[in-house]
């Protein structure tokens, strides 16, 4: 368990985290990093204008993340306060925050004309690391904070991904998602 994303008292019961401030702070930090990455990618600098616009553009990510968590938590027989676990859950975004800052740094120094498919594909491929790390943190969150059995925690984390990522990708790519994915699916199927 990477200790950097969970506190030393990660096994503390969920009811200890009742301060909405924690969740709000995690949300604002996520939005700041999302907006800053957009600003660095689009202009090579951090400007208030682009940070705000980028944060608005990608506000659907935390919104869907929380929606998915709500759906997962509501499925449980045991009652768990959604508010109480929010801050702890959002702390599991830390791998993504590292990744976003890293790609922002890279794109801010690469000249626009030098941004080729190799760089874009490399960045996309590198997302596997924060994806796996964040998944592991979420499983640990469900076990430690929500007292779920490990197999159930894995199922919860996967269900959360299916709901959150499914809706997020559908929104992000819009109606073009079919024409974007169909050639890849056809290739996989050998057609």
């Amino acid at each position: 368990m990477p200790s950097s994303a969970l506190s030393p008292d990660a096994a503390a019961p969920a009811h200890r985290d009742i301060r909405p401030f924690n969740a709000t702070r995690q949300l604002l930090l996520l939005l700041l990093v999302l907006g800053s990455t957009v600003s660095l990618l689009a202009s090579g600098r951090l400007s208030v204008r682009l940070i705000v616009d980028g944060a608005v553009s990608f506000a659907f990510i935390p919104a869907l993340e929380l929606l998915a968590l709500y759906v997962v938590v509501r499925r449980w027989r045991e009652r768990v306060s959604f508010r109480a676990v929010l801050g702890a859950f959002l702390a599991g975004n830390q791998p993504w925050l590292y990744w976003l800052v890293a790609i922002g740094a890279v794109f801010s120094v690469v000249p626009p004309r030098a941004i080729g498919f190799v760089l874009i594909d490399s960045v996309a491929a590198s997302a596997i690391a924060p994806f796996a790390w964040a998944l592991r943190l979420d499983v640990r969150f469900f076990v430690d904070e929500c007292h779920r059995r490990p197999p159930d925690a894995v199922r919860d984390a996967l269900l959360h991904r299916v709901i959150g990522w499914g809706l997020g990708l559908t929104y992000f790519f819009g109606i073009a998602i079919w024409s974007l994915t169909q050639p890849t699916i056809a290739r996989w199927l050998g057609q």
Binding site: S43, R49, L50, P111, F173, I175, A176
Partner: protein, 290 residues
């Protein structure tokens, strides 16, 4: 730890302050050549609403202004609503001219439809799509017609008004420029330069200089139909109407303005270094939830 956290936030705010100070619009006086108003345009731009971009339609309008563009088309994937939102916003803030339109996005081909107000059914055959664009008084442009997408236009080349000859693919692929040149040689198209901006790279990285009678949507569409455009591609090579290219050559800033990767200023560097260091430190030192 507390001191490090404070330092991280100070660095982040310093980076944001420096970047915001450097974030100034490029203002150019109106240019008239050969009796035409020369407009810098980017006709292929994506917003974050349903079209895998990174900026809202409003943010695109402001960014276009920063990049010295007179005209943009926000081309949502198979929908026109975000171009209408962008136009509404730009009219209120005195921003660049926003053409309504979309990118018809299918498996075999992509078409930029400009000057339309209703979405074209992407399931139609390509010929019917092009006809539908023209029925609405619009202009049809072949988007990045590389060998992956070019074959779909076989037999309907005469129904296209323009073709992208400058697109980021010319920088990303070794023979990207040649691929687009080969397609353009197959018909009589307005030369188009578009950034296909999704949030990385730069808005206006590839741009079209439109020789229009006025700064209105109708005048821009008329100029495209009449092929009155000039585009600078890889290595600064000029494409478009030979007479207009000759006129454009008399204004060196058109060629240099086409470059959006001018050296970064000291404020830019301060923003990058302090901002990235600060953000990374903020993330590293954030308080845990408990």
């Amino acid at each position: 730890m507390r001191r490090l956290r404070v330092t991280a936030w100070i660095a982040t705010l310093l980076g944001i302050a420096a970047g915001t100070l450097a974030d100034r619009p490029i203002v150019q006086p109106p240019l008239v050549l050969g009796g035409y108003r020369v407009l810098a345009a980017d006709f292929h731009v994506h917003s974050s609403t349903w079209s895998d971009g990174a900026l809202t339609p409003f943010g695109l309008v402001l960014e276009a202004e920063r990049q010295g563009l007179d005209v943009i088309a926000i081309t949502g994937h198979n929908q026109v609503s975000d171009s209408q939102a962008g136009r509404w916003f730009s009219e209120r803030v005195g921003g660049p001219l926003v053409l309504t339109g979309e990118e018809i996005h299918t498996i075999g081909h992509h078409v930029i439809a400009l000057g339309i107000s209703r979405t074209i059914d992407f399931r139609l055959p390509v010929a019917s799509q092009l006809d539908a664009i023209h029925e609405q008084g619009g202009v049809a442009i072949a988007a990045h017609p590389t060998p992956t997408y070019a074959p779909a236009f076989s037999g309907v080349l005469d129904r296209l008004d323009g073709a992208e000859i400058c697109h980021p693919v010319i920088y990303a692929v070794d023979d990207g420029q040649q691929q687009l040149e080969r397609f353009s040689a197959e018909g009589y198209f307005a030369a188009i330069g578009s950034s296909d901006f999704h949030g990385f790279s730069r808005l206006g990285l590839c741009r079209t200089y439109v020789f229009a009678t006025d700064l209105t949507a109708a005048a821009v569409l008329d100029a495209l139909r009449a092929r009155r455009t000039v585009v600078y591609g890889l290595g600064g090579r000029a494409y478009g109407d030979p007479e207009l290219i000759r006129l454009a050559e008399s204004v060196p800033r058109l060629r240099t303005a086409a470059s959006t990767d001018a050296p970064a200023s000291s404020l830019d560097w301060l923003s990058r270094v302090a901002g990235v260091f600060g953000l990374a430190s903020v993330v590293l030192t954030q308080r845990r939830w408990a």
